[in-house]
Each structure stands twice: as C-alpha cells, then as structure tokens.
Symmetry: D3
Subunit: 260 residues, 6 copies
C-alpha cells in the first residue's frame, strides 16, 4: 500500500473516487473495480487501459499483466503519466479533478497506451506494438506510431483523429488538440516526421508534415497545414501556414488559446 | 402500447422495422430485440443507446434504466429526438426512412446520448455525465461536453471527430458535418465557446473558436476556421474564415449544400 | 488447403504469422485463431473482420458466414483486397510485411468492410448494408456509403474521420489519408459526389465536395477544400484549393508525399 | 425508496451488503451493481437472476424487464421469496445472514427462477417458460417444470441434480436436498407426479415417483426411492423406501436432520 | 434450401419456431438467429450447440465450423439426432413439439454434443474431444466420454449428473434419466463399462458398473446399483439391484414408467 | 522461469501442450493463452480457473490476481494440486497425460477452486469465499463448503452433484466419484459432517451423513447411504449401508473399483 501522504496525486485520486462512489451509485461498481481496490496509480492505469483495449481476441488479463510489466520495467512511463494528468488538470478549464483525465479523457488514454507500445517497440516486440496501435486507433481514434517519442506533461485534448508518424518527436509540455497530424514526407524510410518543441500548442485539425521543426513555445492555429520549420515563440496559421505573430511571450500549450 | 394512429413517426418506424425483419433474416434478431418488442420510441432509443454504450465495466441494464429514467423525467429529450430524426429524413438524400437515422446514424446516436448526459449534468450528476461522455467519444467519436446546449431538429451528419465545448450553444435546426469543432478560447473558465444560431450549416471539418456568434441561417464552409462573429444569412469560408456571400436567402441547414 | 507455392502473398502472410506466433506468446492465441488455422486469405479476412464488427446485437458467427458468402459470390472482392494489401506494403514506409495491413491497419479494414457492404447493396440488401456501415463507422471511424465505388490497390491510410458519399467513385491505385471527405453538394438525390481518378493522392483532412472530377495522378494537399474539377497530373492545395503545380510527373498515390 | 424501518429483511440485507462491500474490495463492485444501488428486494432479485440467466442469445436487459414485470404482476412471488430466504437463514446452520442465500445459494436461485417460469406458464407464455427452464437447468443444475406448484418457505439446499415434474406439488415449508427427483409414472399425460405435504424433508438423492402423496411433516431418507404414499409424520428410507419411524413429532424440514 | 415438403421434421420445426417468434417477442430474436435464418436442421443444431459450448477461450465461430464439418463428414450423426428428437417427442408427455427438445432439452444437447466428440475421437482428435467433453460437463452437467458408443433414438431425460464411461455402449431407443452412471470396474484399461441393450430404460440415479450387459428391453429402477448382467425383458431394482420382474412385455424405454 | 529440468510435472505439461497446439489448430489459441505463455504451473492454474469462474459481475482479472495471491501466500495449495494431478493420472485409466486433468477435468477444477476458497476462509474473507463457492457450484456442479478440509492426492472424478459440508474432513489420497454427499446431521452448528480417512474410495452417489468416521482405506459402494462409522479397510454398501467385506487389503482409492 502506497503511503498516500507521500503521494498527493494518488491521495487526491483516491479521495475523488471515494466521493464519486458515494455520490453516484451507478459508478460505484466501476470505481471499486477500477480504482478503489488498487493501491497505486500504475495499477489503476493498467487495469483501466486493459479494460478499454481488451477484445474477444485479446484477453484483458493478458493485457493487464503486460501493462504492469511495462510500468515495473520503466518507471519513466508512470512519471510521464503523472505529468500528463497534471497537465490536463492545469490546462483544461473543463477539468476540475485529477481523476477526470485519468478515467474519462480519451486523449489521455491514447497517450498512455502509446507509452506502452513505445516500450514494447524498444524491447523489439514490434508485432505486439502494432496489434495495440490498432486497438488504440479503434477505441481512442488516435493512431500514434509506437516508435514516436513523446515527452512528459503532454495533453492530447479529445484525441479523435490524431495521427503521429514513426519518426515524430513531441517535446515536453506540449498541448495537441484533436485532429492533429504529424505526418510524413513520402515513402522513403528514415527520419521523415516533425519534431515538436517544448511548450508548443497544436490547434485542432492542424497538419504538420515532413521532417520539420516546430520551435519551442510556438503555436500552430487550428486547421493549419505546416510545411516549413516554425521558429520558437512564433504563431503560424493558414493553409499553407504563415507566420501571424512573432516573439510571442508565454507558453501556448499552457494557455490553450486555440485562437490565433 | 402507444396508439400508432396517433403517432405517425412511431408507426412508420415499426412498419419499416417489420418489413426489414422480414426481408433480411440476419437483422431479424437485432430488430426484434431492439425495436419490435417495444411499444414506444423512447424504449427503442434507450435500448439501442444502452447496447452501444455498455461495456464490461458498465452494465447495459444499468444504462437502460438510466436512459428510461431520463426520458421519463424530461419529455423534452424525446421531443427533440423526434425532430432530429425528421431532420435527417428531410435533409439527407441518402436517408429514405425514419428508422435509418434512429438505428444506423452515428451522429444521431451521439446527439441523443449527449441529450442524456446534459440531463445528468443538470441534475448535478457530473461524474456520471463524464463517464458517458467518454464512452460516447469512444464509440461515436464525437466529444460533446454534457453542459453544451443543443436545440431540436439538429442533424450531426456522420459525427466523427466532432468536438463541442462546455459553454457552446447550438440552436434549432442546425446541420453540422463531421469534424466540426466548437472550441474554446483558452484556459479561463466561464463562457468561452461559440453560439450557433438557428438554421446554420457548419461544413465538414470547420472550426469555430471562442465565444463568438454564428448568426441565424449562416453557413460555414468546409475546413474553415472561424474566429469572429458571423452575421446571419452570411456564408464564410477559409482559414481564417472570410465572408464569401451575404444576405443569402434560404436555410443552409436544410439545403445541406456543403459547397460555398 | 491452398497451394502456398502458387500464392506467394498467402505464403508470406502465413510465414509472417508463424514467425510472430513464435516470437510473441501474447499474440500466439490471436494469430492461431485468426490466421494459422485457416487455409485461404479470404477465410482470414472474413474471420478478422467479423471479430471486429460483431457486437452483442450481431453475432460474430452470422457475420463470418455473410462475409464468406460475399467472398464466394464475388471473387473480385478478394482480388481487390490483395491489391490493397500490396499497396500498403509498397507505399507505406512504416509497413514492412504483408500481414501488418491485413491484421492491424484500420483503414485497410474499413475498405475491406465497405467492399462487403457494396456487394450487399448490389444484391439489394440495403438495410444490412446500413447496419454494417454504422458498425464500420463506430469501430474504424470511417463512414463510407455502401453504394460508393472503390477501385483496387487503394490505400486508406489510418482511416479515421474519412467520409465517402453515396455516388462517389474512387479509381484504382488511389491513396487517401485520414480525414478525407468525398462529400455531396446538397440534398438533391442523384449523382452528387466526387469522382477520383486513378493514382490520385488525397492528403490528410482534404475535402472534395460535389460531383467534380479529380483527374488521374492529381494530388490534393492536406487540409484542402476542393470545389472544382482538378486536371490530371495537377497538384491543388488551400481553402479553397488552387492549382499549385501542373503537369507533375509520377504517381502521387505511390509516392505518398503529403507535402505540396 | 422502501422505508427500511418497515421492512426489516430488506434493511438487514442492505446492511449486510454495505458491510461486505466495505470489508471485501473485490466484492464491492458486484455488491453495488447488484444490491446497493437498488431500493427493493425485488429489484435486487430481478437484477441478480437476470445476471445469471442471460446469455449471448438472451439479453440481460430483456430478462431484467421480464422479471420485474413478473414481480409487479404477482406480489405473491416476492412474498414467497422472502419466506424462502428466511427458511434458509433459520434451517441452514452454515447460513448466518439473509444476504447469503439471496446472493449465493444456487438452490434458492433455482426456486426463485422457477417462480417466474411458473408465472409465465400461467400467462400462457409456455415457450418462454421452456427457454428459461433450460437456462435454469444449465446454470443451476435444477430442472423444475414451469407448471410445478411450489409453496412458500421452501429450502432447496444446494440444488444440483433436482428434477421436479410437470404435475408435482410442493407444499409450504418443505426442505429438499440436492439430487431429489419428483418424477412421473410414465408417458401418459395428466396428473402423474408427487404431492409433497407441508413441512416435509426430502433427503439428498431421494426419488419420489408417480402421483403419490408424501404426508405433512414426513421425512424421506437420503437415497430413498419412494413409490407409495407416505403418511404424515412418518419417516421412510431405503430402495424401495419403507417406513422406519411413525408418529414422529416435530417438523423434519425445520430440523434438517438428514439422518434417519 | 431444403425442400420442406420432403422433410416433415424440419418443416414442423420451422413452423413451430415461426409461430413462437410471433407469439413471444422476447424469443423472436433468439429464434431468428438460431432457427429461422437457417435452411437445414444440421445448421440449426450446429449454431445452437456452438452458442452453448463457446466460451471466452473458445470462439463460437470456430465451434460452429467444426460442428458443420462433423455433420457434413458423417451424415449418421444428424440421422441419429433426428431419431433422438422424435424419441423425446413420443416418450416425454411434457414435450408437445419437435422444437422443444431441439432447443430446450439439456439432455438432448448433451447427447448431440457427444455425437460430435465421438466423431472427433474417431478422427484421432482426442485433445479437442476432451476439451469439449469438459465444456459439455460444465454446461449440461453430463460427462460422457467421447469414445462411448451411443445408438439412435436415445432420450437422455434432464441429463444432469449423467456419467458414461469410455467403453460403454448404449443401444438404440434407450431412455436414460438424470443421474445415471455407466461406470467402470477399476483402473485397468480395456473394456470395463456396461453395454446397454436396445429399448432399455435406466431410472433416475441408477448406477450400472463394470463390463456387464443390460439386456434388450430391460428396466433398471431409480436409484438402483447394478453389478451383474440383467437379462432381456427383466426389471431390476435396489442397492444392489435384484430382479423384481421377468419376461416383461413391452419396451420400457418407450413407456417411461419410472416406477418398478 | 522455472527450470523445467527440476520440475518434471511442469515439463511434461508444457511438452504435452506444445504437442497438442501443433496437432490441433483449434486448440492452439486456447493452449497458448492458458498454458504456453506461462512459466509455472500455478500461473496456468490461476489463469485457467479464473477463465472458468469469471462472469459479467466478476472480472477475470480480479480473480486471476486473487488466485495468484493465494498461491503465493500458501505454497501448500499448489503442492496439493500437484498431488491431485498425479492422482488422476495414476488412478483414472481414461487419463493418459498430466495436462488432461489440469485442463479438462471438472472435478479437479472444483477441488482446486475450493482450495482457494478454503484459504480465503482461513483469512476471514468469508463473503468472497461464499461468492466463489456459488460460482464453483454453478460452473462445476460441485458444492464444497470453503471450510471443509481436503487432503492432498484427492481425485474428485467427474465432480457433478458433489456436496461437502462445512465441518467435513477429507484425508489424503481419497477418491470420490460424482454425486457423493458428505452431509450434516441437522441444523445445529458445530462439528456435524463426516471425516473421511486416507485412501478411502466413495462410490458414485454415495451419501455419508453426520459426524461419523470412514476409516482408512475403507470403501463405500455406489448409491450407499452411510449413517454410522465405517472401520478401516472395510467395504460398506446399501441403503442404509452395511458391511459387505472386512479386512480388505489394498487401497480402494487407488484401485478405483466401483463395484462392491
């Protein structure tokens, strides 16, 4: 049993789930099975994700064990997950508790699931990673290649329609809305997908294509198509995207202003 | 048993389902369980949505009872659902029966499911509303905040990728295509999402961002990004969206012409 | 038992699945049930798609029999499926085996599922076709009308958010990315959706609207909105789309360069 | 919401379930879904039996509604169920709470399920009664004809292997152990099964065959085969059964001494 | 499509199922999926048994195909099944239609399932036969060794608790009640189980032990333990069983008088 | 990973399962998921039993973790299970491999499941023990009280209909056939069930009632009802049981001769 005193995030999640189970009888069953009977955040996450990704051809027990194995093998995964929860809590005005993204945000689930496929990829278990990528794409509508590198404190808001390619890199504290594409530049293998700097915000439906760099704290407007490097602290928008503001102060990923 | 004479929509749905069960043995099982053994439209809808939103962690029986409770408590929900069915029938040239949207249109299912999360939200049952919002987003790929206000006669065509924020308001007789975003203007709480007037058509992939107003019978072209108020009877298009036609007669939501 | 010597695609898939089952114990169960115990590609595909599209209201056994019936009745469906597998293998740099698209590419599954609804539509079994269209849209997030005509060698990459209308026609060797819309021009029935020529590439999130023609080997940039005919060997981009390159050599669908 | 003060059985069951949900996290989910979110005993029973008797070909929701319909139509069913719970509590030394038989005694579940098939039979819904008789026989291993008449305060201990024929009658406050047969006398239709008096105890594996009468407070030893009437307050045993004790005081069904 | 005129049993079953689907909306779904959409009795039986024997670790589709393969390979199985249906119809006064045993009699299902394990055994597929024997024992509570030989026109009434050993032989037109054991004589391999002649009736709970012969048209009373050969047309009863009647006319299996 | 060299039972099971997966494609899926991907016998048993005892109201993952917890906490459980497997292999002439009882013998599964409920009972987790006792009784048709004490090397052949009471004790190397009852003597609490000595064989359907002792290496004939102590090395039979042989050499449980 984790000492809840020493883990305020876990303590808050437990307390929120207990309150919700008391308030909402219809959720008590789900909350006990998924949260309250566990003693660590990683157990909750492993259980919850295995509920979502299991299917008649892939047993939930096998997935649960796999996810626990991943968390045990690479503590960085759960550290990143914690930062992602906090990111949602701090950046999304519609999110007023820590358990909300953990339990109910599809984009959060997609990112956490990819963190596991990424671990599998690193272990050389590529076929299993593809199998899960497919399930994530079916259940969470986000198709993120297992090889893509994703930093911590990332908020994938809503998640639907997101596509992230094999050689893409997403920095820390990035916010990506639904429908964002980090796509390739053609059929050649090798490094062909975007590199997204820390603190970047990618607006809804934005496409960033090719091995280009979106600099730190840049902002890409909704519906934009980015074909060239974007300097740091710059806002781009349009199809194709053009610079609309330079030397912008602040961190767009934290402000979450989708307007440009 | 409802008097079918006094309810022509229900009578039509029953007759269509009976015909389909006779014509297509493979659907007879589904149609009897979902439609033919029931005696009101709300029972069919409650059963059908609970089939779709149930999961190994949320029993279909509990959802069915919840949905029936919502319909019994707020008759307006089913009145709106009826108008939504008629809207699909009248506006979608590929829809030639009333039972087709009821049974097979994902966007219709997403709207009807949100009408229930909205009722839960109004009752203060926010956690359950979030739980269902997540399931709607997984199954129907539309992420509509439970607090959003949606009028009647709304057609959400296809539904995939739609995102509607917490303080958004959608008027009556609106048509929204897939990929439409009614997004926020940042991380401040409070009124921060669009207000869509009656009769508006929002084209595929259009993003409307911030607490702006899209006037009555306006039209937003596919792929547009709208950052400013749109006057009534006006067509806007582009990234960012600009006015391309003014004083347009007719109701774009009814004409469903996605071209601008 | 098919002679594997005379069917190199099937031989490769079997060999890949055997290797994967040996390498990854967690997938051995899935691979034996889905691939290794079968003796033809059509049996694998019928089994795999029925796993994905079954639900508590539609028995997997009934779907399996239906899909096998379709493959037996129209050999062209499986011929096209073979070309689609090869297309993924040749065009997608992240795809290094034939079994990967067959088993794990959601867009491929959506296309193959539509090939079956199309056969049902041709047989006059429209209600069943609608039922399955709905399931495909839920599971694979691609909403493709059963009446749409799709050529062979088509790659639907990722698949999420794709919408293809009733009278749309997609030629041979086309590549379509996620979020592509082939939409209608209004609520009149009749021929109202785009015709896409052979070898065309449609970038992520592109919308092509109305009964227009996109000529052979044309390319439509990501996020574009196409409202007019596009000549062959031409690249268009923007909202609305404009010509950005003419008389382009090569076949964009094969090159898969999403940049314009 | 039932006034728990006025219903001590329900109050006890609720209190026991709350305690168990607190003590045993693994059961909290089950107990909330099955007991704690309901407000009457009949709702609990309808939910619990529908969980057990549902199958891929018979939806739990349909069964739940049917069972609730039965309880609403015939209050005697739930009155008898209450007496059966109390009977288990009072007679079974291994049963120390009211919720134990309600939730965990297979014989109790078989009796309650038959009370519903009996109601269906009386309504003329014979095919549905047969369908459920089959499910009861599969799940609870007790094959009790829907037409059989069963009194109140009946304890069917363990339940496995019990067979009760069409024209059998079981009085009030009877105790029957597992493996008991109340069988017929041949293939003629008409009244051909035993009549069991009030307070009778039928030992494990006892067979009572033909339209004979087992008198009030009689006792049939384990493994006996009874082919003739048994007088009241008499103990019979053996194959075939012979009288081994007469004018026995007390009520064997309450004493539950299986020895003779 | 079978010519129903030339197959009166199938015609009767179809007509009964159609009538039941009309009369009982709750069963219409089950009846369409299980009976009405099929065109032969073997398809119905294969579908129905695969519904019952499938589990999360054995796909219903795989079982369905296996059972259809068995029926196609050995027509004798379905000929015997037809005789078994007729046997139930003629001998069981509580059975007034042909579809009742087919759909709802657990003992009938156990026999038909064993006929398939027996075919597997003959093909040398012993492990699969054991797998299914286990499922039959779980679902139908009858544990019949795949190697046991069973004639046609056999009625296994109720079925619960029946055990039939590896080298047992059951003749034609036998009636066996629940709880009957045809057991072995020790741990030596070889022929060690009973041989039951044509027309024999074995009463409820009767045990017949060792390589002994129960002669044609003999009758074994309920609860008896038979350790020696029983001559033809003889009735035995008791523990151990003794002859109670000789030279009995008639066929006990057809009369079904369980009394001795 | 267990050293298979040092664990011949596990090595044999693995080798048998590998051979079966190769020989029988239909079982390969089951065998990989249940056996081949695991590295210890306890993992296989925990997985297999959790497959069987899970239900829509009790998640297989939760059961798997519970069973693994039990095996880790009390190594004696798995030691006993190993002896039980060997007992089946040595005593049952129809059992020619170690994996057959492990995977396919319902009586073996019932015993192993009770060993877990017994551990729960000892831990004071009585409600969970009752919950599982009910599931064991439903799935395996054997109703064994969690408090009953069971030795090692016990073969519960077939298992159907077995009932074992709260204060019963079963020694080592006992063989019990289906339908055996170890029942109580009335409704008083306290020690009221039989004590079965080492090496005893209890024949099919035998009832042993009350706090009596069946001595070492005694044999109880099929269908017997035992009401008094049975001396060691004695054979009893009949209703009620009488001594039929004294000073019998050998161990009836190992000889498995059901005849007396």
């Amino acid at each position: 049993m984790t000492e809840v005193n020493s883990d305020p995030l876990w303590a808050a999640i437990l307390q929120e789930a207990e309150q919700a189970a008391r308030d909402e009888p219809l959720l008590a069953s789900f909350l006990h099975m998924t949260v309250l009977r566990h003693s660590t955040l990683e157990d909750v996450l492993a259980f919850h994700l295995s509920s979502k990704l299991a299917s008649p051809v892939m047993d939930a027990r096998a997935l649960l064990e796999l996810f626990r194995e991943a968390y045990a093998a690479d503590h960085g995964i759960i550290t990143a997950a914690r930062a992602d929860i906090t990111a949602c809590y701090e950046r999304d005005p519609a999110c007023d508790s820590y358990s909300t993204p953990l339990l109910y945000f599809k984009g959060f689930h997609a990112i956490q699931s990819q963190r596991i496929t990424h671990w599998l990829w690193q272990q050389g278990r590529k076929t299993l990673a593809y199998f899960l990528q497919n399930r994530i794409s079916e259940v969470m509508s986000a198709d993120i290649h297992p090889a893509a590198k994703i930093g911590h404190g990332v908020m994938l808001d809503h998640g639907t329609g997101v596509v992230v390619g094999e050689t893409a890199v997403i920095g820390n504290n990035v916010s990506m809305l639904h429908g964002v594409t980090l796509g390739g530049s053609g059929k050649e293998r090798g490094d062909r997908h975007p590199k997204i700097g820390d603190g970047v915000m990618l607006g809804a439906g934005a496409s960033v294509l090719g091995n280009i760099r979106v600099g730190e704290c840049a902002k890409v407007g909704a519906g934009s198509v980015v074909l060239d490097d974007v300097p740091a602290h710059t806002t781009v928008a349009g199809v194709p995207a053009k610079v609309v503001a330079q030397l912008c102060p602040g961190t767009p990923a934290l402000d979450m202003d989708q307007r440009v």
